[in-house]
Structure formats: structure tokens, C-alpha cells
């Protein structure tokens, strides 16, 4: 009988404990994590998760390397700021028509520039890259999952995009050699073809 009473009392203790813990439990912070690190990782992974963005960013770096000084550093300096301006426009609600198409067309044209080893005037090259940067920023800079830090996401997003440029510039070092020049032009053609597929998909 005493053992049964003890069991009942112990069961009440457990229920009281559960009720107390549930009553004072912190908020859940379920799927969208609250941490700064999560926003940073989302920002880093976002640019590299879309092939259209990856190809265009690398093509910017390669084209800069083909163009030589001062484009090799002017394009990577200009692009993040103009891309952020595109993201800013998206964040404040400015509608930009045909964003996905603009991103796809950027891959085509940048691929063609690399394939042709085009060397327009510096201002033209910067203007072309800047126009595309607005589309890329508008398309990708505003896609922050709920509950994550905008600052951490922005840092990750900008850094990842800059690193893609750096990869392009590193690949562009091959421009020093004859075989490398041919390889880069072939790669540019491949990017243009992939861009054409993206255009097809955007129009479909």
C-alpha cells in the first residue's frame, strides 16, 4: 500500500516538474535558426547554389583577367557595390522586370565576351558588368530566410560573390599561355551555351 502511495506521489512530482518546465520554457526557435552563424552560412551558400550566378561571376573574373590592367581589379571592385545596389532596390520594393532573364542573359553575354576575348573600352566593360550586377543583386540579395540575421547574410553573400570573382581571376591567369588562351575561349563558349539554356528556361 505504501509503495503504491509512493508511486502516486512520484508520478505527481514528475507531472509538476513537466508542467513547471513547460510553463517556463523558452521560445522554440525551430527551423529558421536565430544564430548569426546561420545567416552567414545561408549568405555564403546562396550565390554558389545557383549555376547561372556562379558562371556569370566566374566569367566576370576571367574577362577581367583577359582585359588586363586596370579592368582586372576595377571589375571586382565595381561589381559588389553595384550588385548591392540591385539588392537594395529589391529590398525597398523597387520592381525590376525580367530579373531571371537578365541573370540568364548576363551569362550569355559574359560568356561571349570571354569566348571572343573582346576588349571594348574600359567604360563600356564596366557599364556592361554593372548592368548585370544590378540584376544579380536584385535576384539574390533579398532572399533571406525568416529568422536569420540580415547583416550576417549580407556578409556571407558579398564574400561568396567576391570569392567567385577571385576564382575567375585565378582561372584567367591561364591567359598568359597560348594553350591557356584557347582553353579560356572554349570555356567562355561553354558559359555562353549554358547561359542560352538559362534564357530558354527563363522564357519557358
Amino acid at each position: 500500500m505504501t509503495g503504491m502511495r509512493r508511486s502516486i506521489v512520484r508520478g505527481r512530482e514528475v507531472l509538476m516538474t513537466i508542467a513547471l518546465v513547460l510553463g517556463t520554457a523558452p521560445s522554440a526557435f525551430a527551423h529558421p535558426q536565430q544564430s548569426q552563424g546561420q545567416g552567414f552560412l545561408t549568405g555564403v551558400s546562396h550565390p554558389v547554389s545557383g549555376l547561372d550566378h556562379v558562371l556569370a561571376m566566374i566569367a566576370v573574373g576571367v574577362w577581367g583577367a583577359q582585359l588586363g590592367q586596370p579592368a582586372i581589379w576595377l571589375l571586382p571592385v565595381t561589381f559588389p557595390m553595384v550588385m548591392a545596389f540591385g539588392g537594395f532596390l529589391g529590398l525597398i520594393g523597387v520592381h525590376l522586370p525580367g530579373v531571371e532573364l537578365g541573370v540568364a542573359v548576363s551569362a550569355v553575354l559574359l560568356g561571349v565576351m570571354v569566348a571572343r576575348e573582346a576588349k571594348p573600352r574600359l567604360a563600356v566593360a564596366v557599364a556592361l558588368v554593372s548592368v548585370f550586377a544590378v540584376f544579380h543583386g536584385h535576384a539574390h540579395g533579398t532572399e533571406l530566410p525568416a529568422g536569420q540575421s540580415g547583416l550576417a547574410y549580407s556578409i556571407g553573400f558579398v564574400m561568396a560573390t567576391g570569392c567567385l570573382h577571385a576564382v575567375g581571376i585565378a582561372i584567367g591567369v591561364a591567359h598568359k599561355w597560348t594553350a591557356g588562351k584557347v582553353a579560356l575561349r572554349l570555356a567562355g563558349g561553354t558559359v555562353a551555351l549554358a547561359g542560352a539554356a538559362f534564357v530558354w528556361r527563363a522564357l519557358a
Partner: protein
């Protein structure tokens, strides 16, 4: 053994269970400063290292000052640290943060753009900018410490870390030789300005 005293001891056991369970399920701190358990100075050190809004501003200022030469770098080092501590003490006393989002946004945009443009300025102007950055960020830290009821010594850790970070980075940038390394610093500046612009967008959207 009678059944009489059992409920009282059971209640005590329940309280012990509840205390242990609640200790194992702590809520997130949500305080301005990080709690290291090593005291307020270490909390301040950790705060700078783990808070991108302060750390990126300090790094950007150091890069900008370093690009402007050794004299500007030396002046900025003491100006930003002094400004940070003065702003921290003022924020601690007033205990009211000015617009929280605006401070890092302004710092990122101005310092990032100046670094990306590589515009040469006189050491005096660099020092004025460093003091302004230090005052604003220090104010935010001081007000945060006051609001969360933490010890003022946290400011000492913050000031020391800012001094070390700015000294190391400014010295590194000043000593850069090859042209491409200077370009790399400018590219990093453009990243900071881009982050500031995106933050401005997030702020206007009400999400920072």
C-alpha cells in the same frame, strides 16, 4: 515508516527536480555582451571578435587608415581607441542607444567607399573619421552594457581589442608592397560598402 512525512519530502524532491530541469534548459541570453564566464574584460574582448557590426567597422577603419600611410595609421589607432572608450563611457552614463542600425550602416558605407576609392586624405581627416567611428560604436557598446546591467569594465576589453585589431591590420596594410595587395584591400573595402548598402535595404525593410 509512516506515510505522513512522504508528501513534504516529495515536494522537496519535486523542487530539486524542477530546479535541475530548468537549469538544463536555459533560455538564450539575448544580452548585448557575450558571457564568457571569465569576467567583464574577457566578455568585452569576445564581444568585439564575435560582433560583425563592430569587428567589420574596426577592420575597415584599419584598412582605410593603412592605405593612407603610416602617419595616418598611427593617428587613427589612438583616435579610434580613445573615441571608442569616450563614447562607451558616455553611452554607459546616458544608457540610451541612438538608432542602433544606423551606426554600423553609416560606418560600413563611409569606410568601405573610402577604402574602395583609395582616396588619399590627410592624417588629421583620417583621425577625425576614426574618432567619429569610435564615438558612435563605443556609444552603442556603452549603452548596451548599461541596459543589460553589466559591469563597465567590459569597455576596457572592448577598447583593448579595438586597439589590437586596428594596430595589426593598419600595420599590415601600411607595409604592403606589391600593387595587387593594395588592390586586394580596395576590393575588401568594396565588399564592406556593399554590405552596408544591403544593410541599409534591410533596415528600410525593417529586418536587421
Amino acid at each position: 515508516m509512516s506515510a505522513g512525512p512522504a508528501p513534504r519530502s516529495s515536494a522537496a524532491t519535486g523542487v530539486v527536480f524542477a530546479t535541475i530541469a530548468m537549469t538544463l534548459l536555459p533560455a538564450s541570453a539575448e544580452a548585448h555582451l557575450v558571457t564568457t564566464g571569465l569576467g567583464p574584460v574577457y566578455d568585452g574582448i569576445t564581444h568585439v571578435v564575435l560582433s560583425p557590426d563592430d569587428l567589420v567597422a574596426a577592420l575597415a577603419l584599419a584598412a582605410f587608415a593603412g592605405l593612407n600611410g603610416a602617419a595616418a595609421g598611427r593617428l587613427a589607432l589612438f583616435a579610434v581607441t580613445g573615441g571608442w572608450l569616450a563614447g562607451g563611457i558616455a553611452g554607459l552614463l546616458v544608457a540610451d542607444p541612438i538608432v542602433p542600425v544606423a551606426v554600423p550602416i553609416a560606418s560600413f558605407l563611409v569606410l568601405g567607399a573610402l577604402t574602395a576609392l583609395d582616396r588619399r586624405l590627410s592624417p588629421a581627416i583620417v583621425a577625425v573619421i576614426a574618432i567619429a567611428v569610435g564615438l558612435l560604436h563605443g556609444w552603442m557598446n556603452g549603452a548596451g552594457i548599461a541596459e543589460s546591467g553589466r559591469e563597465a569594465m567590459g569597455l576596457a576589453g572592448i577598447g583593448a581589442t579595438v586597439f589590437v585589431v586596428v594596430a595589426l591590420v593598419a600595420a599590415l596594410v601600411t607595409s604592403l608592397g606589391p600593387a595587387w595587395t593594395r588592390v586586394a584591400v580596395r576590393v575588401a573595402g568594396s565588399w564592406v560598402a556593399a554590405i552596408g548598402l544591403l544593410m541599409l535595404g534591410w533596415a528600410l525593410r525593417g529586418h536587421v
